[in-house]
Amino acid sequence: MNSLSELLSVAIVLLAVLVFVAGTVALIRLPDVLSRLHAISKIDNLGFGLLVLGLILIQPAWIDGVKLFGIWILVLVSSAATGQLIARHAVREEPR
């Protein structure tokens, strides 16, 4: 736990965990579908982004960092698409 980058990465990962916890709490507490959807996508882009950033810092080889970044992009794309689809479905079903 000596070098600066490790210290920084631990801090960032802790932050990411915080976001995850907040998102989950929001998911449970919030009443309607759209706002809960908002909480979920927050977890995916912000929380996961911080996690990836934290990990990139402690990666020995830079290529692994790029791979991690690629993973993040993929998660972003898929969560946005699914979020949009669920929202479309929720809106159409609204008058239920």
Partner: protein, 314 residues
């Protein structure tokens, strides 16, 4: 090292919790969701137990494909309210089951410590002759190639069985322009990574099954986005698709018999190349078979539901 045992306990607890949830959740829909989550956590367990091949396979096939199949078949299984068996029966069976499981767990724990069996040494000694550097692929495609060939046959029999079970699931129609965009990005990416997985299988976790499954997931994406303009795969080429893997495998296996060696005994210097050849053919077939398994029917069959060649005797 204490941190690792904490993580182990956490993972095991999560796995058991998700398993219980997937089995005893009230509604079928919830059970399928829990099952997919269970599959992902099990993928993490394989990673923890130093089995990257299995993590890949579990993620793609266990959670991915099986989960997709279950989701698709949710719509035609009615959630029949099962009247729970009498209270006494449930308690009795739970108790009896509990005792059995406890006994099994004690027995399993009595097996430890696992003596370091001969096989690990044998595999590493003969590794160089197997033509591939990654031990799991060596075992899968050289030492125990007969298992893999039979496994292909199992997949083939499932696919053939499904082929004559009526028409495939209707594609979900044109959901949204966004999914078109997503699919247009994802599908080529999947195909690319399938090729990469296949080629890497020789010296790192990967191989025919994972690559085939990735291709099948590409087909799932296509089915979900309902791309009608794709060229329809002809019946003849569908059959060929299913056949190329096993046939090539058997052909390569029979060659050594010509000069008096055993079945599936690849010549040592050609082993690497032959394994790659077999794996690529197998990938294509596995992709076809898994897609059929997902579609749940004959892609071309336009049988009206009742008319299933009635003059045919039962």
């Amino acid at each position: 090292m204490m941190i690792w045992s904490v993580i182990d306990i956490l993972i095991c607890a999560l796995v058991v919790a998700l398993a219980m949830a997937a089995l005893y959740a009230p509604a079928l829909r919830q059970r399928v969701m829990f099952f997919i989550a269970f599959g992902l956590v099990v993928a993490i367990t394989w990673a923890r137990l130093h089995a990257p091949d299995l993590a890949l396979a579990e993620a793609i096939i266990g959670a991915g494909l099986t989960g997709a199949m279950l989701l698709m078949s949710l719509d035609h299984t009615s959630d029949m309210p099962r009247e729970p068996a009498s209270y006494g029966l449930r308690i009795g069976s739970a108790a009896m089951g509990g005792v059995l499981i406890l006994g099994l767990m004690m027995i399993v724990s009595s097996l430890y410590p696992i003596h370091d069996g001969a096989p690990t040494l044998a595999v590493s000694q003969r590794q160089v002759e197997s033509g591939v550097s990654h031990p799991v692929t060596a075992v899968l495609l050289n030492f125990r190639a007969w298992d893999t060939l039979l496994e292909l046959a199992v997949l083939l029999s499932a696919a053939l069985g499904i082929l004559n079970l009526g028409p495939a699931r209707r594609s979900c129609g044109h959901a949204a322009s966004l999914t078109d965009g997503l699919a247009r990005v994802l599908v080529p990416l999947l195909i690319l990574s399938a090729g990469y997985l296949l080629w890497k299988g020789a010296f790192a976790p990967g191989g025919a099954f994972q690559a085939g499954a990735v291709l099948a997931s590409a087909a799932v994406v296509i089915h979900l986005t309902g791309w009608e303009k794709l060229p329809r795969v002809g019946l003849r080429s569908l059959r060929l698709l299913l056949l190329v893997g096993p046939t090539l495998f058997v052909a390569v296996g029979l060659l050594p018999l010509l000069n008096g060696q055993a079945f599936l005994q690849y010549p040592v210097e050609l082993a690497g190349l032959l394994i790659l050849l077999i794996e690529s053919a197998a990938m294509v077939s596995i992709a076809g078979m898994l897609t059929l398994v997902y579609l749940g029917g004959h892609p071309h069959a336009n049988w009206p539901i009742e008319l299933v060649n009635p003059k045919e005797p039962m």
